[in-house]
Symmetry: C2
Subunit: 387 residues, 2 copies
């Protein structure tokens, strides 16, 4: 183990920002149940409402249409249900359209019957094609009763979808349009109205806030999914359960930082590009997935022929570098990436993901390059743990 490690796995979870940590500590000390009317309860309530304003501001939204959840997966699970309401009237959605490269929390279709979930194909560059989406919707969508739910930027490749174009196609088909903005927030500008999204999904811990908070941000609040977590009527009845004040306060602090971070991505991009130069120099036959498409500045998803990602990841870890093979989900189980499969890459593609943040330094990239050189030199067939 190395004394100082290089953490290059921001897309799995970004380190907690100091301002978010401070906001959490203040909230923990405030105590109280935010639904209580006494002073302790009102103090907790105030922290939540301040955070709501900050999260709304990050995406150009309105505070009253921000529903706090325990994370992005909960927000996605809330959305992927056929049971909705328009005001107080029940509304049933018949069809769900997801991108084939969506995160599993959207991809599996939630409570929709499998036969009512349609996957929108992506090209070899990872991009949805608006005309293909239009054709799939034309064939299957039921106006006013369909939901199109895609990611803004992919968690593995960083590929940024043509969001406004897909939104426009969805609108023309009379479908609701939801955007998983988990990886995009704080990295590209997001304005819910400009994007044409009816809903945005956000996660605190991907932008330097704590794990345990996320949000479903609605553009209008008129049409909403039925509550997923039911209880005492919190979050205007959209999400029951005592609010996680500390996590929400930390989310608010991180959202304020994320709004500024978008302008600082050129520095991150320079480091990522430096890492990719090193990859290409060390392994000239490496593939960098989605490299020709618009991508987040912080992400690189690459494969070196003959190098098994799982083994290489262990080698990097031993060299003091945290990165990932595919995404972090599924309890450490590593299988073929459904994102690469959706892009038409076979199971032979065993890829590693670098994902950087504002705290990443030149030294981290140098250490990554040194480790990669050693791992590639030792060869893919060898058990790296024995090296």
């Amino acid at each position: 183990m190395h004394a100082q490690r290089a953490y290059l796995d921001y897309n799995a979870s970004a380190p907690l920002l100091e301002t978010a940590r401070a906001a959490m500590l203040a909230a923990l000390d405030a105590g109280g149940n935010a639904s209580s009317v006494h002073a302790e309860g009102r103090a907790a309530r105030r922290l939540i409402e301040e955070a709501r304003g900050a999260v709304a501001a990050l995406v150009g939204g309105v505070a009253e249409h921000v529903v706090f959840t325990s994370g992005a997966s909960e927000a996605a699970s809330m959305l992927t249900s056929p049971d909705w309401r328009m005001g107080r009237a029940p509304l049933r959605l018949e069809r769900l359209f997801v991108a084939a490269s969506d995160h599993p929390c959207l991809l599996d279709g939630g409570r929709f019957a499998p036969e009512n979930v349609h996957r929108l194909p992506v090209g070899r560059d990872g991009l949805l094609d608006p005309e293909t989406v239009r054709a799939v919707l034309a064939k299957n969508a039921i106006a006013g009763k369909s939901l199109v739910a895609i990611h803004a930027a992919n968690n593995e490749t960083g590929v940024i979808q043509p969001i406004a174009e897909i939104a426009s196609v969805a609108k023309q088909a009379g479908a609701l349009f939801a955007l998983d903005a988990v990886q995009a927030a704080g990295r590209i500008p997001l304005d819910i109205a400009d994007l044409g999204a009816d809903f945005l999904i956000l996660s605190a811990h991907k932008i330097g806030g704590p794990k345990g908070a996320g949000a479903l941000v609605a553009a209008s609040g008129l049409v909403m999914p039925e509550p997923l977590v039911r209880g005492g009527g919190q979050e205007k009845g959209h999400r029951g359960g005592t609010e996680n004040v500390a996590a929400i306060a930390g989310f608010g602090a991180a959202a304020r930082e994320a709004a500024r971070a978008v302008d600082l991505m050129d520095g991150v991009r320079a480091l990522r590009d430096e890492a990719e130069r090193a990859i290409r120099e060390i392994a000239p036959h490496a593939t960098i997935f989605g490299a020709a498409a618009p991508r987040l500045a912080n992400t690189s998803f690459f494969a070196v022929p003959g190098l098994k990602a799982e083994t290489a990841q262990i080698g990097f870890d031993l060299a003091g570098i945290a990165l990932s093979a595919g995404s972090a989900c599924s309890s450490g189980k590593v299988g073929p990436s459904h994102v690469l499969a959706a892009m038409g890459h076979g199971e032979e593609a065993s890829a590693l993901r670098l994902s950087l943040g504002l705290a990443t330094e030149v030294g981290d990239i140098e250490r990554f390059a040194t480790a990669l050189r050693g791992i590639v030199a030792r060869g893919a067939g060898q058990d790296i743990r024995a090296a």
Copy 2:
């Protein structure tokens, strides 16, 4: 405002224990996504598994059957669904039986159709009667396809149900039996096998842990509800979403304390009884709800004729005392208590709840008594804020 306040609202949310706070801070600093296989991820994973053991131990359960959720409401929402599975085979539950005095997160029946939700009546003392429950189940239950879900101890009155008797009746009717142990944990001994429960619901923040963590503890894990929050397959597929490591670590620390707290309840009971002596002396016509039934040592729910609870609560708050009018839920909205209604008390019953903890001191009770004396003396008709 008073410099030092008396916090007598533990049933709404207990103050964060120092050990829980320390565990959270350590987890926040550890960082990482618990599903990542690198060192940062494994450190997070270790904290979660330690907490899982502590939570299991609190209720005599097995760690591998503890599913962490974002709180008790989420665990209850997960349970109150007709869609279950036995191993991998789908299982559909047809009927849900809840106590009429259950918390709203069980009472509203979740995803069961309203006509399939039956309310089990409680008596004027707040207790379920096993023979009545037997009769209701005999009339309506479908063996192997029904769920009986009741609270162990009531959040408003502290009344403790005849848990093992109800469990036995449920079993004889072939129904699954789930116990909301949110208010009972750390206050009375809980052993999932002794109680005959198939499931227990727990909340971290009611036992001195943080808001944002709860658990569904299963006795066997053979029959489970379908996941509510879906995502990357965390929690053995029962609950998706990146784990809230800090809140879970804090929950674990609080669970260890709660296991010891049960033996310290006599001191809390003495203070509660002292408070009730003061209530009866100051307001001889006061009603203490459920006083003749087995009750948690820390709770007193009382009404003084002519005294409006909402107004009195504001008076207490101004006097530096945090207590509640009914439960804390529903965004501070105060309506008639459904618990009192279920006990046969009319809307005239406007009740206040005192709920104590291990940190409650004699001085807190004295201050409460002094404030009550003033509030009662000023009379119920008067606006207390003007006093």
